[in-house]
């Protein structure tokens, strides 16, 4: 009797052991901006169903710098709590030490993605992340309101300010006291660095730190760019924008209380959901150019986008890499583009009729996505976070009126040069 029991127990243990070796539980950290979290869960579940593994989706903070801080804490302690991380386009250099090389697992699949993003995700000769979706700053506008006030979509910041003022005043007089002209992301966080990078580039004010390591922010065009943006606050932009992140600004726009919105492509799908108050009334175009034509301004969009990485502390790295391969595959990226307007990182999908039908702007704005400006993360490498923090705080001080633009960029220039004596970043 006892022997039988023991044999049964042994058999059960063996079964469990064998089962355990095949079915593992992976933890993936996904963002929750817009539809991200819901989609990530659905896609991971689909993979789990197919493979018999289990996936737990962890909700990461929406502010990207908070997310980075959390990741750094978890990775810094060598924890295996999370297997797969969704990382920002500016992080591969910062986190490379903690991530595995995906090359042995991708079987060359990365060659189908945009080469620039793959290069960005390659640190040394390690492919530390696979591209998942790409982003560029866009200008969303209310087609109906522009038509009502007979205003053309603005191609310069000055034209935008004039149009915003006109429509804002008109709508307020017509009975919507909450109407604002232009909303964007002005909270003291990474998103402000993205917005301000666009202003600087559009005025020809450089990239804060140039690719050769030189700090370039202290110039007249950069000052002009910051002054222009500061001029919007309180006139066409609510003062509260100084504490807005992506979803706050989208909230104002989507509830019908803003004419223009600077945001990422994901807004397109949400603005066109059936329950959206502005469905069918939204247009999208490249961000306006600085200056007035002759002074050499141009339209500039900050390059964003998210990648998937596998932690080197993961106990199931090979299985995790398999999930990454699945999530970045053409089928999943196509689905994400159609359902939620996440720009694919596979050039082939831009020829796909279904994707283009759901997101007509992706084809129209192909040049915007191709010419997006990078934040200085490659050259400043491990110090990027400090550079960005100093930059967004300087911009925040100018926007809030705490500092004058010339003084703020001079201070920023001094602080950045202190970080990298003789233009050497490490």
């Amino acid at each position: 009797m006892q022997a039988t029991l023991r044999a049964a127990a042994l058999a059960a243990t063996l079964c469990l052991g064998a089962f355990g070796a095949h079915a593992v539980t992976l933890k993936i950290s996904c963002g929750a901006v817009g539809l991200e979290f819901q989609l990530c869960k659905e896609e991971s579940d689909a993979w789990a169903q197919k493979t018999g593994h289990e996936v737990q989706v962890i909700n990461a903070p929406n502010d990207s710098n908070e997310r980075l801080a959390l990741y750094q804490q978890i990775l810094g302690s060598g924890s295996d709590k999370i297997d797969i991380y969704q990382i920002d386009v500016v992080w591969p250099g910062l986190l490379a030490n903690h991530l595995i090389d995906l090359k042995p697992f991708t079987k060359g699949a990365e060659k189908a993605h945009f080469p620039a993003i793959v290069a960005n995700n390659t640190v040394g000769d390690k492919l530390v992340a696979m591209p998942w979706f790409t982003d560029a700053g866009l200008l969303f506008y209310r087609k109906d309101l522009l038509a009502k006030y007979k205003v053309a979509p603005p191609t310069t910041w000055d034209a935008l300010a004039a149009a915003a003022k006109k429509i804002q005043d008109g709508e307020r007089a017509a009975g919507n006291p909450k109407m604002w002209g232009f909303v964007w992301q002005g909270r003291a966080y990474e998103g402000l660095s993205c917005n301000a990078t666009e202003w600087l580039a559009s005025f020809g004010g450089g990239a804060i730190v140039e690719p050769n390591g030189k700090v370039s922010v202290n110039n007249a065009n950069a000052i002009k760019a910051l002054q222009t943006a500061a001029g919007w606050v309180g006139t066409i932009t609510p003062k509260a924008v100084l504490n807005y992140a992506e979803e706050d600004s989208r909230g104002v726009f989507q509830s019908g209380n803003a004419v223009f919105l600077r945001n990422w492509p994901y807004v397109w799908a949400l603005a066109h959901k059936p329950d959206s108050q502005i469905a069918g009334k939204v247009g999208v175009m490249p961000l306006p150019a600085g200056g007035s034509g002759s002074s050499g301004g141009r339209s500039a969009a900050t390059l964003g986008g998210w990648q998937l990485s596998v932690s080197k502390y993961s106990k199931n790295a090979a299985v995790a890499a398999d999930l990454v391969n699945y999530l970045v595959s053409a089928a999943v990226q196509k689905d994400r583009a159609i359902k939620a307007s996440y720009n694919p990182t596979l050039p082939a999908l831009y020829q796909d009729a279904d994707v283009m039908a759901a997101n007509p702007f992706m084809a129209e704005l192909a040049s915007t996505f191709a010419a997006a400006v990078s934040r200085p993360s490659t050259v400043t490498a491990a110090q990027y976070n400090q550079v960005s923090n100093l930059f967004w705080n300087a911009a925040h001080d100018v926007l809030s009126g705490k500092a004058k633009a010339p003084q703020a960029v001079a201070d920023l220039d001094r602080q950045l040069n202190k970080l990298a004596p003789a233009d050497k970043w490490n």
Binding site: G76, N97, A188, A240, L242, N385, N389
Partner: protein
């Protein structure tokens, strides 16, 4: 004193040490060791991304490698955060003490509602700060917030105020939220002190014809002051290391950055364990100095408690 008495005394002293030893050991493990580690790291160039490899750099993190350049003590942002923290601690503790005293005096009136009110007043204190700070962020939101809607509807504001974004308002807002949350703590401690005040003192004064105000300033206040001073020390300590309410409501903005926010930024955002530990050590020293100064300044009053 006989030799026997000395022996007994010594035995008692030894026994006393044995009795407090477990507490001391736990304290050393959970407070002493981390503090010592922090001080140690503040003398190294450790990075969060590679904690294993660090070298000793002396006082560079405090004074900078070339004296005055790059050290925490020469960072204007550190001093700005020290200023913010001290201003926050002083204003919030003062307001909480005054409001707490007022609420305690009201609650001290015998009434059938008292038990219920005493429980109700504790609600803000029972909510975790992160939750209440989020809640307030929504209530103060310029577009969807109930507070702005109410202010505009009542005609008190011509347009919604950007409570957490406007630098001239954000500091006041944070103090306000902190006062809302911690006044119950002060009210309860003050109420406890009020209930210790002997009733016969009041009765005697009333018979002598003293006005309620005279009774309050000459009898009640002196009797509860020592307890209030202790409560203020507790609150002050808490306020000096403020982090959550500020971080949740205004993120990394310079305008409201406290010492703890600065320390976190160095440690986590910038991965600079060395500089962050130096700032943390200075934060500890600042709190120690302020507390000692407070205890010394109020020593004569405290003694009356014994």
């Amino acid at each position: 004193m006989t030799p026997q008495g000395t022996g007994l005394q010594r035995a008692r002293r030894v026994q006393a040490w044995w009795l407090v030893l477990p507490t001391l050991a736990v304290l050393a493990a959970v407070a002493g060791w981390p503090l010592a580690r922090t001080v140690f790291f503040s003398l190294t160039d450790a990075k969060l991304s590679a904690l294993g490899t660090h070298r000793f750099v002396g006082l560079d993190n405090y004074l900078g490698p070339r004296f005055g350049d790059g050290g925490v003590l020469f960072d204007p942002e550190w001093w700005a955060s020290v200023g913010n923290t001290l201003l926050f601690a002083a204003s919030s503790v003062l307001l909480e003490t005054l409001l707490g005293l007022g609420i305690a005096l009201l609650l001290n009136h015998p009434s059938r509602l008292r038990t219920l009110l005493r429980a109700a007043v504790l609600v803000p204190w029972a909510i975790p700060t992160v939750v209440s700070a989020r809640m307030w962020t929504w209530m103060l939101h310029d577009q969807f917030g109930i507070l702005n809607t109410a202010l505009v509807a009542a005609g008190l504001a011509s347009e919604p105020l950007a409570w957490t974004a406007d630098p001239s308002l954000s500091f006041v807002t944070i103090v306000m939220v902190d006062v809302w949350k911690t006044t119950p703590f002060m009210a309860l401690l003050t109420l406890a002190a009020l209930q210790m005040v002997p009733r016969d003192c009041h009765e005697a004064a009333q018979i002598d014809g003293a006005s309620p105000w005279t009774i309050f300033t000459h009898i009640t206040l002196p009797l509860i002051l020592p307890a209030m001073l202790v409560a203020m020390v507790f609150r002050g300590l808490d306020a000096l290391r403020v982090f959550d309410v500020i971080y949740v409501m205004t993120s990394n903005s310079r305008a409201t950055r406290s010492m703890s926010v600065y320390v976190r930024e160095q440690l986590i955002d910038f991965q600079k364990i060395g500089a962050g530990s130096a700032a943390a050590t200075l934060l500890f020293a600042t709190i120690a100095v302020v507390t000692l100064a407070w205890l010394l300044a109020t020593r004569s009053r405290m003694r009356e408690l014994d």
